[in-house]
């Protein structure tokens, strides 16, 4: 049972302690089942609520992708799936995976669970707002899911929702409730996220424990922090464009709608700018890529360092690379719009900024690899996933260089090459990190390991399987197989061999999908019957493993908040008895260690 009030009493261990600047946090203490588990204000529970909701809606998107793949390869197996359904599934699959699964999971899930623990806070700074944030997100998911059940079904405009076709009557869901529910759901999501995002940013900036300087924070926190800042500045573009498109649809305004002829009739619209929507959407959409990627970068840095028992190489460079990638991500958005046509000078500008992003990104990849070099690599499951991430991310990143060039992008833009690129870089790579992170922090959440055999199986099937899915797609793209087509069979300009590749991809997609179900089974079974992990099973240095109870209790750190003396990467310090020195161990406790001061 937690104490009613926490006092921060510093018991001297002989090491100097910085003066206390943060006032002790006044926590809400839950008294009933409802306030403890449902309307809970504890960030750890909120993080789990976020994660479970995101995974649940993500499973829907997984099933949709199966159906799409079946339609492409074996259309006779899914006779109920027509063109309209196919486009609806494409749209919902993309939107769910990018926003409702990955964004919510990385920031809402991992952010909530890890930020207070890793920076040494008792909770988020505004626990009540944090709770509301989750429930608003939950509402957004419900509204989104509701669009499957309205007349006309969900919108089939493609996940980018480009006008004019998003709200014209020929598009599935375009003249019904589908598109409106999508826009409303996105707006609700932005509102909910803003509440949570403010919490994450302020907790990291203003509520760290004593000794936790910015340059001692684990890179996970840096990644989540920068991504949250990006989200707070990028989501406004999304919510504004959603509002404007809703008005175009409901009130007949013409923000995005030019004068067009629809089914032989002149529409009521005139004078709007569809390109404006593209600009707004991608001003949100490109930072969104890094909202997903930066937390993955951060988490994978920690996984590699911990499981290679070696400090992360170039910590400061890693931090600055994250910040620079975040800043650059706001001035590259039009590279998604090359095929929309633009002034060559703009194309030149956006191609240049896009290619410049490759510099800090490549720097990070080199640093991960150099961290591994001469490390004491433990091939644990989190490490396997981290290695898988490096490979898939390099692959996806290099194809990004192809697509960043206007002249190469234009012919490739409407082919499977793009599908392969963004699934590799934004789908597979971050998802591998999600898995690695779950295997890594599951002992902290439940006190038990996930089953190792199932975990290894899950890794190899997922990693090799996703290569089997997406590698052939690059080839399909080069030979000119167009994306967004719902039927491949009777298209004469495509070689017959592409049909066989399509069937191969579909079979692999179904196998990889089933591997994820095994993973879910592993989670459910291991949370009850898994091997007990004890405290700090991976011998990590960061604060989340230093709580008095595992799993961490209410208020995280017992009576006394930890005091931080070092960075989160003091592995294999020369002279030290253990191969790791946790962040809250003072210099006088490990006098034999010849650690560099950080």
């Amino acid at each position: 049972m937690a104490a009613d009030s926490y006092e921060d009493i510093a018991v001297g261990k002989g090491d100097p302690i910085p003066a206390l600047e943060v006032k002790p946090q006044d926590l809400y203490h839950a008294k009933s089942f409802w306030t403890r588990w449902i309307f809970c204000q504890d960030a750890k529970v909120i993080g789990i609520q976020y994660s479970l909701t995101a995974i649940a809606i993500g499973l829907v998107a997984l099933v949709l992708s199966w159906l799409m793949r079946l339609q492409l390869a074996f259309p006779e197996l899914v006779p109920f799936l027509g063109a309209a359904e196919y486009y609806q599934f494409v749209t919902m699959h993309g939107m769910i995976m990018v926003i409702y699964l990955l964004t919510a999971l990385f920031l809402g899930g991992f952010g909530n669970f890890l930020i207070p623990l890793m920076v040494g806070a008792r909770d988020m700074v505004f626990p009540y707002v944090n709770m509301v944030s989750f429930w608003v997100y939950f509402l957004a998911v419900l509204v989104l899911a509701a669009s499957f059940f309205v007349p006309g079904g969900p919108t089939g405009a493609g996940w980018t929702l480009y006008p004019p076709q998003a709200i014209t009557s020929g598009t599935p869901g375009g003249d019904g409730l589908g598109i409106i529910l999508m826009l409303v759901s996105l707006s609700i999501f932005v509102v909910g996220f803003t509440m949570g995002g403010l919490n994450y940013v302020i907790t990291i900036l203003q509520a760290r424990t004593r000794g936790m300087t910015l340059m001692r924070m684990p890179l996970t926190i840096w990644g989540i922090f920068t991504a949250t800042v990006l989200a707070l500045f990028a989501f406004p573009a999304l919510i504004v464009s959603c509002i404007m498109m809703t008005l175009d649809n409901l009130l007949g305004t013409s923000f995005f709608m030019p004068a067009i002829v629809e089914f032989g009739e002149q529409s009521e619209y005139s004078g709007g700018s569809p390109i404006l929507f593209q600009h707004l959407f991608w001003f949100f959409g490109h930072p969104e890529v890094y909202i997903v990627a930066l937390p993955a970068f951060g988490i994978v840095s920690d996984l590699i360092s911990i499981h290679a028992r070696k400090n992360i190489f170039g910590y400061r460079m890693m931090v600055w690379a994250i910040v620079i990638i975040g800043a650059l991500s706001f001035i590259v958005w039009a590279h998604h719009m090359y095929v929309a046509g633009m002034n060559p000078w703009f194309g030149f500008f956006f191609a240049t900024t896009t290619l410049i992003i490759a510099v800090p990104t490549a720097l990070k990849v080199y640093n991960w690899v150099i961290t591994l070099w001469k490390g004491n690599i433990q091939l644990t499951i989190p490490m396997l996933f981290a290695l898988g991430f490096i490979v898939t991310f390099v692959n996806g990143g290099i194809t990004g260089l192809f697509l960043g060039n206007v002249i190469v992008d234009v012919p490739l833009s409407d082919t499977y090459f793009v599908v392969a690129h963004f699934h590799m870089v934004m789908g597979i790579a971050p998802v591998l990190v999600v898995f690695g992170a779950i295997y890594h922090w599951f002992p902290l959440i439940t006190g038990r390991f996930l089953h190792e055999g199932m975990g290894k199986f899950h890794f190899w099937v997922t990693f090799l399987g996703s290569y089997a899915i997406y590698f052939p797609m690059h080839y399909l793209g080069f030979v000119g197989v167009p994306r967004r087509y719902y039927e491949m069979y009777d298209s004469e300009f495509m070689a017959v061999s592409t049909n066989y590749l399509n069937q191969f991809i579909t079979v692999m997609a179904i196998i990889v999908g089933f591997a994820q179900l095994l993973f879910l089974f592993n989670i459910i079974v291991s949370s009850k019957f898994g091997k007990l992990s004890g405290k700090n099973p991976w011998k990590a240095c960061s604060l989340e493993w230093r709580t008095p109870e595992v799993p961490p209790g209410h208020g995280n750190f017992g009576k006394e908040l930890p005091v931080v003396y070092r960075w989160a990467y003091d592995f294999s310090v020369p002279g030290a008895k253990e191969d790791y020195i946790p962040q809250d161990v003072g210099p006088s406790e490990v006098p034999e260690a010849k650690a560099e001061q950080t």
Binding site: L214, M215, M244, L251, T253, G271
Partner: protein
């Protein structure tokens, strides 16, 4: 190694450069309470919202081929025999800027723990804000009577009505939310919640006069946004 000395050594770090201090432990912005920092970052995010609204307005104004209505004719008022351009807007702007002044004074008296003055000034701010919303409702009514709709208007480009109602509506919503919170805070001030540190009904956090300053930040921001809307919609 035995260590018998268990007394606490508190170390005050020496004054360093701004960057070092910013990156130091516990707080990036020293002495800034959580709520205030959160409001600042929220306002930056909200600045993006309004900037995107205004950029969209400019884009649409250029993209439409129909002529844009003349603001000083559309927003004029008939006073006696004269057609005074921008009269109502001038009054509205004056009122909103005045409310910023009363808000600033309320913050000052709040920090002096002068409950009475703070409360009355908060009330004045709330009333001024409410009258702004009232006048905006009047302006909307007038325009609607003249036939301005989100999808069409008798003066020119249909986007004029659309963007006008959307942006002033969005700003008006901000003012309305501000007024509601101002009234709540006025009530809390007079009840002495900020003096006794009474816990909030929802958040269960202790009330503090900081809340008045945070409210003030929001209110000044809403005023600042109005200045831009005024410039871009009524003067351009």
């Amino acid at each position: 190694m035995e260590n018998t000395d268990t007394s606490v050594k508190i170390v005050v770090p020496p004054k360093q450069g701004a960057f070092k201090e910013w990156a130091s432990d516990q707080k990036a912005f020293k002495g800034v309470p959580w709520g205030k920092a959160m409001m600042w970052i929220f306002l930056v995010s909200d600045t993006f919202v309004f900037s995107i609204f205004l950029i969209s307005y400019m884009t649409v104004r250029f993209s439409t081929k129909v002529e844009w209505p003349n603001a000083s004719e559309v927003f004029g008022l008939h006073v006696g025999h004269y057609n005074v351009p921008l009269l109502l807007i001038a009054i509205m702007t004056f009122i909103l800027i005045t409310s910023s002044g009363t808000m600033a004074l309320a913050v000052k008296y709040g920090y002096e723990k002068n409950k009475k003055m703070c409360g009355w000034l908060m009330l004045a701010t709330a009333v001024l804000g409410a009258s702004f919303v009232g006048m905006q409702a009047f302006e909307w009514t007038k325009l609607i009577h003249e036939g301005v709709r989100p999808w069409e208007n008798p003066f020119g480009a249909p986007q004029f009505g659309a963007i006008f109602f959307m942006v002033t509506g969005f700003h008006g919503t901000h003012v309305t939310i501000g007024v509601i919170f101002l009234f709540i805070m006025t009530w809390k001030t007079f009840r002495g919640h900020f003096d006794t540190g009474k816990r909030g009904y929802f958040t269960s956090q202790k009330s503090d006069y900081e809340a008045i300053e945070i409210m003030g930040l929001y209110w000044h921001f809403v005023d600042l946004v109005w200045v831009f809307i005024f410039a871009f919609f009524y003067l351009w």
